[in-house]
């Protein structure tokens, strides 16, 4: 027998509907009353984080130059509790994945040692007093190894790479080829593929150890720039600057005022909003001829450009993203938005005051990604609002549900999606979840499955009224305004940023830290940049205790992104 009771309990329990994906109750949403909260002393842990594909690519570009091509298929990153960043502390490398890493590594190494790059990247050669090139190789591996491993190499590590190079050089009959082979080994080693954090003795800490300066530099750099530490940051680590507040602060300011800070902000939102899903998104070309792979990738870029303009360039409030009328636009996307685009390149388009198009939720990246291939889905859109933007958990539907009355598109009586979806709400079992997802999702019904505006569906006018947690709205623009006032939306961003920065789920003893950042976010007018600065400057971000047992409850992890 199907365990009907168990299923019902899972689906209908109201506490599940309200509970946040991070496992604490909705009371988290209430902010501390005092504006001046003491900074809590919170402990994180050392971690082993696999580089994501974008981090790998950018690190290579920074170390060897942007003209070095990274060719190959990466093992997929895994999303845990909605974030690939949290997946980086869970994934290992499978045999198939390692084979790919080794192929990619050899491709990179072969370019580094080619005629074009050798003079700049290696430079030296065997000579009279270094006949086999051992000194030349040692110099290269010491210099490059520090960038690849984000720390100075130990003597025996340099020696091992030199040995590899010389042995290989003999077999291959070429010093360059030998260096290339040894370099490929470094690029395949766990020291490069993972950020392996190290500790150092520290009498000031209760447990006598703290994160070493190199590990601090990596945390900082991947958080703010999504790439490997640059020379200046490595030098600061070497000087010990990252171990005092002033020195740390100087580096944080330097990184955040660099144009590259944009990359860090973009990387966070790409992960948080799950924009990588657009790379495999496909739509029915007969129903949506305007959609293409190009539209999907430009829609992702549009959202990232819109975000970095508002949050970084204008130093704006995260919540304003839900009401902004200023969209990055280009010629690929113009037709979907029915707006003229004069510029060949990206430009900004400001929608009129009363336009239904307003805010992040009305961008193609959101509307298309959370629809079916051939039609809209208020449920999927509402689920994305709840799960991604409000950090709420929407349980999976019961196994034996019958949807057939709900969505017959040819139903002569139920012509619009709203009419069909409303049938969910007449069924008690369905209603418990759908009343959370559908009412906000229905606010976006005037945009079709790829995000084009429509006023009618099957010759019936579309009603885009709805409510979000009892606040009524009419249409997408008003929904955006309601989102912008939702404490859950602000709170979710803070939690997600913290999890992104640390790579782990929020644990019970970190709750006060989260409360602190939420209060700070509120006090700073929800400026995302200020939140990132606060985290980057906080000693908590660099603290560590003994490795905490990793939370194995990954029930919200997705198979696909």
């Amino acid at each position: 027998m199907m365990p009907v009771v168990a299923v019902k309990k899972k689906i209908c329990a109201p506490h599940l509907l309200l509970s946040l994906s991070l496992g604490f109750s909705a009371s988290v949403l209430s902010l501390p009353s005092s504006a001046n909260v003491d900074k809590p002393n919170n402990a994180g842990s050392v971690s082993l984080r696999r580089l994501t594909e974008p981090q790998y690519r950018q690190s290579i570009a920074d170390i060897f130059g942007a003209d070095i091509k990274v060719i190959g298929t990466f093992e997929p990153d895994i999303r845990v509790h909605g974030l690939l960043a949290e997946g980086t502390t869970r994934v290992a490398v499978t045999p198939g994945g390692l084979e790919q890493y080794e192929n990619i590594a050899r491709g990179i190494a072969n370019q580094v040692i080619d005629e074009q790059h050798w003079p700049k990247l290696v430079g030296c050669a065997p000579q009279k007093n270094d006949s086999n090139g051992a000194n030349c190789a040692a110099e290269f591996f010491e210099h490059t190894g520090k960038k690849l491993y984000r720390r100075p190499l130990q003597k025996e590590e340099i020696k091992s790479s030199v040995n590899n190079a010389l042995t290989a050089a003999k077999k291959l009959g070429s010093f360059q080829a030998g260096v290339g082979a040894a370099l490929a080994g470094m690029l395949t080693s766990p020291d490069f593929l993972f950020r392996i954090e190290r500790t150092t003795a520290d009498a000031h800490q209760a447990n006598g150890t703290s994160l070493d300066a190199w590990s601090k530099a990596s945390r900082l750099s991947y958080f703010l720039w999504n790439t490997t530490p640059d020379d200046e940051l490595l030098a600061a680590a070497e000087r010990g600057d990252l171990n005092n507040a002033d020195g740390l602060s100087r580096q944080v300011e330097r990184l955040m005022t660099s144009p590259r800070f944009n990359d860090g902000v973009r990387a966070f939102f790409d992960d948080f909003l799950r924009l990588d899903g657009l790379t495999t998104l496909s739509k029915d070309s007969m129903i949506y001829p305007a959609f293409s792979a190009r539209v999907a990738s430009d829609a992702r870029e549009q959202t990232l450009r819109t975000i970095s303009d508002l949050l970084v360039t204008q130093h704006g409030s995260y919540l304003d993203l839900f009401t902004t009328r200023r969209f990055a636009m280009n010629r690929t996307l113009g037709p979907l938005y029915a707006v003229p685009v004069a510029s060949k390149d990206w430009s900004f388009y400001e929608f009129p005051e009363n336009d239904p198009r307003r805010g992040l939720l009305t961008q193609v990246s959101f509307l298309a990604a959370h629809s079916h291939p051939g039609r809209t889905s208020p449920t999927l859109r509402g689920k994305a609002i709840r799960e991604i933007l409000m950090c709420e958990e929407v349980p999976t539907p019961p196994a034996n549900v019958n949807f057939s009355v709900v969505q017959d598109v040819n139903n002569p009586v139920l012509r619009t999606t709203r009419e069909r979806v409303n049938a969910h709400l007449n069924d008690e079992e369905c209603a418990s979840c759908h009343k959370k997802t559908d009412p906000p999702g229905l606010g976006l019904e005037k945009f079709d499955g790829v995000g084009q505006f429509r006023a009618m569906e099957n010759n019936a006018a579309i009603d885009a009224t709805g409510d979000l947690d009892k606040t009524a709205f009419n249409g997408a623009a008003e929904l955006g305004a309601v989102m912008a006032k939702s404490p859950a939306v602000a709170s979710c961003l803070v939690q997600s940023t913290y999890r992104y920065a640390t790579g782990h789920s929020i644990e019970k003893n970190e709750q006060t830290t989260i409360d602190y950042y939420e209060q700070l976010f509120l006090n700073n007018g929800y400026r995302f940049v200020d939140l990132m600065r606060a985290i980057a400057q906080s000693p908590d971000f660099y603290s560590m205790s003994a490795v905490t047992a990793q939370n194995t409850d990954s029930s919200k992890a997705e198979k696909s992104s």
């Binding site: 290992a92 045999p95 029915d284 598109v409 990954s554 696909s560």
Partner: protein, 452 residues
């Protein structure tokens, strides 16, 4: 292990008629049968390697339209299985095997395939606690070949896979024919039938460099906690496998009579809609042919194929509602007693299965075909998708596994646990185990009807 020593000290000099080749360690396992006995396919008709693989399709079937009414040989073909008519003699139908959920709830499209593949239903992909049985089989027999396994998905998504070591160690699928070709027949490919063989010094160098990377293992593992140590272990195990693969490439590959190098497939345009059934089927066919040649060329003994994801994403171009949505939303047509478009999709999934089987059956090998020396295990995520039914998830096998398996029969499980199938596959492929599955799903009773 004395027979291992025998394997290692074995030389090919005699077999190859005086060719000056001495085989180092480890010896290519293709030359050996399960007892360590040497064979060579084209030199005296010894035994050929036996391969194992899985084939997955999503959204199950409609029982009244799929399950044969008769048991045993010459089972009748109902409409959804009609596409396998030409290859029926190679195919066994396993109906009526159940997933026992115990105290767990039914997680749609997850409980079924995770229970069937790993021996226990998981609440999410990432909570998979035990390896899928294809991984256990690969552990037992996969190490002697260039690739431990070759896994592809016809839907263009590397995450469409049902092969897991753990929830966070997923064996990603190769997502395109171009990538699949590059993996098998790319720069590292050695033609087993080439007249001459010269060990490539580049391969020697790669092997020795990776071996120096593996020397860091102890030092690194001391630095991290237990969870991360497991992750590093996985890394170093993977590294070891790549080293072993390189070691194999330094030996002259055994000749493979059925091996012929196919043409490189053309890249599909960006944005190709793989959800359309016809596009999917064509892509699946091309990838299946490449895989078959990888098997015939002795590049791997293990494979995993996904035709469609769990909760199948298949659609018909121009239709607003796809397969998965249809299973839940389409009304049962009372005049015929089933959901008509769901029926079409289920039948089309079986057409793809028939394609796969016939591709393997079309390659001559030894006295029979590649399929005869292979065991393919096919399954879905649910039986009746409309209500995510995990009782009676449809399963099939194809191929004789080198003569170990009967074919062309319908076996009714009558409520036996699906783990009976996973156990039997493991036992047939040489995994040393007498029981498999976790808690309510544990069983020590295999499907004896399958055995010759």
């Amino acid at each position: 292990m004395s027979h291992k020593m025998t394997r290692r000290s074995f030389t090919l000099r005699g077999l190859l008629g005086g060719a000056a080749v001495t085989v180092g360690v480890p010896l290519l396992e293709f030359f050996l049968d399960a007892n360590g006995k040497a064979f060579a396919a084209n030199l005296g008709g010894g035994r050929l390697p036996v391969r194992f693989g899985t084939w997955f399709w999503g959204c199950g079937m409609i029982p009244s339209r799929w399950i044969p009414k008769t048991i045993g040989e010459n089972y009748d073909l109902l409409p959804q299985l009609a596409p396998i008519k030409d290859v029926q003699k190679h195919i066994n139908i396993l109906s009526g095997f159940d997933v026992e959920l115990g105290a767990k709830s039914n997680q749609p499209h997850i409980s079924g395939p995770t229970a069937l593949r790993t021996g226990a239903p998981a609440d999410s992909w990432q909570l998979i606690a035990a390896p899928s049985f294809d991984v256990l089989i690969a552990d037992a027999i996969g190490s002697g070949s260039y690739f431990r396994s070759i896994d592809f998905s016809a839907d263009g998504n590397p995450r469409t896979t049902f092969s897991y070591r753990t929830g966070t160690a997923m064996n990603a699928s190769i997502p395109s024919a171009v990538d699949l070709y590059a993996k098998i027949f790319g720069a590292d490919f050695h033609d087993p039938n080439a007249a001459t063989f010269t060990p490539d010094p580049k391969i020697m160098v790669r092997e020795s460099v990776l071996s120096s990377v593996s020397e860091q293992r102890k030092k690194l593992e001391k630095m991290v906690g237990s969870t991360d140590r497991e992750r590093l272990d996985q890394y170093f195990t993977s590294l070891r496998e790549v080293e072993q693969k390189l070691a194999l490439q330094l030996q002259k590959p055994p000749p493979a009579e059925a091996c012929s190098i196919p043409h490189a497939p053309a890249a599909l345009p960006a944005g190709t809609d793989f959800t359309d059934v016809q596009v999917r089927r064509a892509n699946h066919r091309v990838m299946s042919e490449l895989l078959a040649m990888a098997l015939a060329c002795n590049q791997t003994k293990i494979f995993n194929v996904a035709f469609s994801e769990s909760a199948s994403d298949l659609r018909h171009a121009g239709n607003t509602t796809g397969y998965h949505q249809s299973t839940h939303e389409e009304l049962i047509d009372r005049s015929i007693g089933y959901q008509p478009s769901v029926d079409v999709f289920a039948t089309q999934s079986m057409e793809a299965w028939a394609d796969f089987v016939s591709v393997l059956a079309s390659i001559k090998e030894g006295d029979g075909t590649l399929l005869d020396n292979t065991l393919v295990f096919a399954h879905s995520d649910v039986s009746m998708a409309k209500n995510h039914e995990v009782r009676g998830i449809p399963m099939m096998t194809a191929g004789k596994a080198g003569g170990r398996v009967r074919t062309g029969i319908h076996i009714a499980g009558k409520g036996a646990p699906v783990t009976a199938a996973g156990l039997t596959m493991q036992q047939l492929m040489g995994v040393s185990t007498d029981a498999w599955g976790i808690d309510a799903m544990r069983t020590n009773r295999g499907i004896s009807e399958l055995l010759v």
